[in-house]
């Protein structure tokens, strides 16, 4: 974190499953470089022995009763699907 941040935009966009145009690549590189430069100052904080906070008020082990409840009807659950057939969502072939 102490060295100048290097954001490999190609790699990160691949991880994020996000196609970027050349113009977006150039613009985001510059803008995110500025943001990362700002974020570098966090390296100055002494966090020795400090526990991380994931939630302000940790609520752990929330259990629900294991009972069946009515869910959405299939038609309602699939209403927003971009493509469907026979109560199934249609997707591109993933195995040749």
């Amino acid at each position: 974190m102490s060295s100048a941040p290097h954001l490999d935009l190609d790699h990160v966009a691949k991880l994020a499953r996000l196609a970027l145009t050349a113009a977006e690549q150039a613009e985001f590189s510059r803008q995110l470089g500025e943001v990362l430069h700002h974020i570098e100052q966090l390296a100055k904080v002494d966090v020795t022995g400090v526990e991380p906070t994931a939630h302000a008020f940790p609520v752990v082990n929330v259990w629900g009763e294991d009972v069946a409840r009515p869910g959405l009807p299939v038609e309602a659950a699939l209403r927003n699907a971009p493509a469907q057939r026979d109560h199934l969502i249609v997707v591109p072939k993933v195995v040749e």
């Binding site: 803008q31 966090l42 302000a56 008020f57 971009p82």
Partner: protein, 487 residues
């Protein structure tokens, strides 16, 4: 102008409805007509359903006629930020990704407001996926500030604040991840309450950053905020982060808590970048509280300078995870140009998301990625602990903190094109989200140019009753909240 029905408070209208001076149908028609008159200039709404609103108003009138009115919200037109699900209605999060999405179920806050008899009036514009501070990131175009149509209403709940200030709703809901209720409330001259993390269920809220997001009301008065919070708050088994807190009668508690309070002034909140007119208005509010017998003392929140960076690491990391669900498969936009399955994800997301959402997904993916997790994300979570401890330390000596809500009044549409400049709008509000605290913005004056200024009061966790009483004491001594924009 303030005599118009659409500029009255929930409390005032509740009395008129109970006395049968006004019917819910008359009130709803007045709000609908007002909306039609101003919406062309404002663009506060993403979608509206007039027939549905009038049907709900008719049902409210029928309940009242049968002696079955449900309390102060029965028949009150309430607008919802377009990130909160209402069964059968559109839910876009102001994104092309969800342009055609229809909610299959009600959010818990929706179900609670329905049970209280509220009339749902429209889904309000916001920054895309609630990411922004000006509502300019909406895929459907920006909302204007009703006090000056050339300026932003703030964000991300800008439509919620603008519609309320303009009389196009009697109360609205927003969501607040880094200031998204309080900052637009300040810029539009209304009351905005961000409750304690866990007090109000997020079931049915489009997720942005789950350890920070909180739903809350925007209202004309503090009493209205208490009425709305009373309807919204409470444990929900459908939200596993919902906190089983005791819920007092917030409205009744307003009168039972006369003060005086010990108020802390965080010295780090009055530095460079604070507009002099904002500072002067906040200092006059300090004088008011002093004259009421409150003690004011300077306090220090030493990690304040790290709030912005901590926030942008944690919020973007959580956003990148939450928004992974938008892949063009089960719902949302699907690209027709994709070659294979992975390309379907990449192209659907490229076509569906706007620039700011893409930037945040990339930043969040980066800070979570192998080799950078410890240096960025884990470190930010540790600094978050220190930021939270700063607030809890301050509360050993004081009951609440007093600060500006926004460093600047409403700025011009298009003025802040640089992401970092826009992020700096949130410097006084994000610490509250990182620490999970309740905070409220109340109108505390106007600039010489006629723009509203907001005062932020920050309370102890789950102590909304005291926080609202403190805000109510200020409101009773002033009439800023009675001013209305000339639209």
């Amino acid at each position: 102008m303030a005599d118009e029905l659409f500029f009255k408070s929930i409390a005032e209208l509740g009395d008129l409805l109970a006395a049968r001076t006004v019917s819910a149908t008359e009130l709803t028609r007045a709000v609908l007509a007002r909306t039609q008159a101003v919406e062309g200039r404002l663009h506060a709404f993403n979608s509206r359903d007039e027939a549905e609103a009038l049907a709900q108003a008719g049902a409210s009138d029928a309940r009242r006629a049968a002696g079955q009115a449900r309390g102060p919200l029965d028949g009150i037109p309430v607008g919802l930020k377009d990130v909160i699900a209402v069964a059968g209605q559109p839910l876009t999060a102001s994104s092309r990704m969800l342009a055609n999405f229809v909610s299959p179920y009600d959010a818990t806050v929706t179900a609670r407001l329905k049970a209280a008899g509220a009339v749902f009036w429209g889904r309000l514009n916001c920054d895309e996926f609630a990411m922004g501070s000006s509502t300019e990131n909406s895929a459907f175009g920006p909302t204007s500030n009703p006090w000056d149509l050339t300026r932003v209403p703030g964000g991300s709940s800008g439509g919620s604040a603008a519609a309320l200030a303009a009389g196009a709703a009697i109360a609205t809901l927003g969501s607040d991840t880094g200031g998204s209720i309080r900052q637009p409330a300040a810029l539009c001259g209304v009351v905005g309450l961000k409750p304690t993390y866990g007090l109000v269920s997020r079931y049915g809220l489009v997720a942005f950053a789950s350890s920070l997001d909180q739903i809350g009301p925007l209202t004309r008065t503090v009493e209205d905020a208490a009425i709305m919070l009373g309807a919204l708050a409470g444990h929900d088994p459908l939200d596993s982060t919902s906190f089983p807190a005791d819920i007092p009668d917030y409205r009744a508690e307003l009168k039972r808590r006369p003060g005086p309070w010990r108020l802390g002034i965080p010295k780090e909140y009055f530095g460079a970048g604070l507009d002099p007119e904002v500072q002067a208005a906040v200092e006059r509010a300090m004088d008011f509280y002093r004259a009421q017998g409150c003690t004011l003392q300077e306090v220090s929140l030493p990690h304040t300078q790290y709030c912005l960076d901590t926030y942008y690491i944690i919020a973007t990391a959580e956003a990148s995870s939450n928004l992974a669900r938008y892949d063009g498969v089960r719902y949302g936009h699907r690209s027709t140009a994709a070659k294979d399955a992975v390309d379907l994800y990449r192209q659907s997301r490229a076509e569906g998301f706007g620039a700011e959402v893409k930037r945040r997904i990339i930043l969040g993916t980066y800070v979570l990625s192998s080799g950078y997790y410890d240096a960025y994300y884990l470190r930010a979570q540790k600094v978050r602990t220190l930021i939270r401890q700063d607030f809890l330390n301050a509360y050993r000596e004081v009951d609440a903190l007093l600060t500006p809500t926004s460093p600047v009044p409403a700025f011009k549409l298009g003025e802040k094109s640089d992401p970092l400049a826009l992020y700096l709008c949130d410097i006084y509000t994000i610490g509250v989200n990182l620490a999970g605290l309740p905070a409220v913005s109340v109108p505390c004056g106007f600039t010489a140019g006629g723009l509203p200024i907001g005062l932020q009061l920050i309370g102890r966790p789950f102590d909304e009753a005291n926080l609202l009483a403190l805000a109510g004491a200020y409101e009773r001594g002033h009439d800023w909240h009675r001013r209305t924009p000339s639209l």
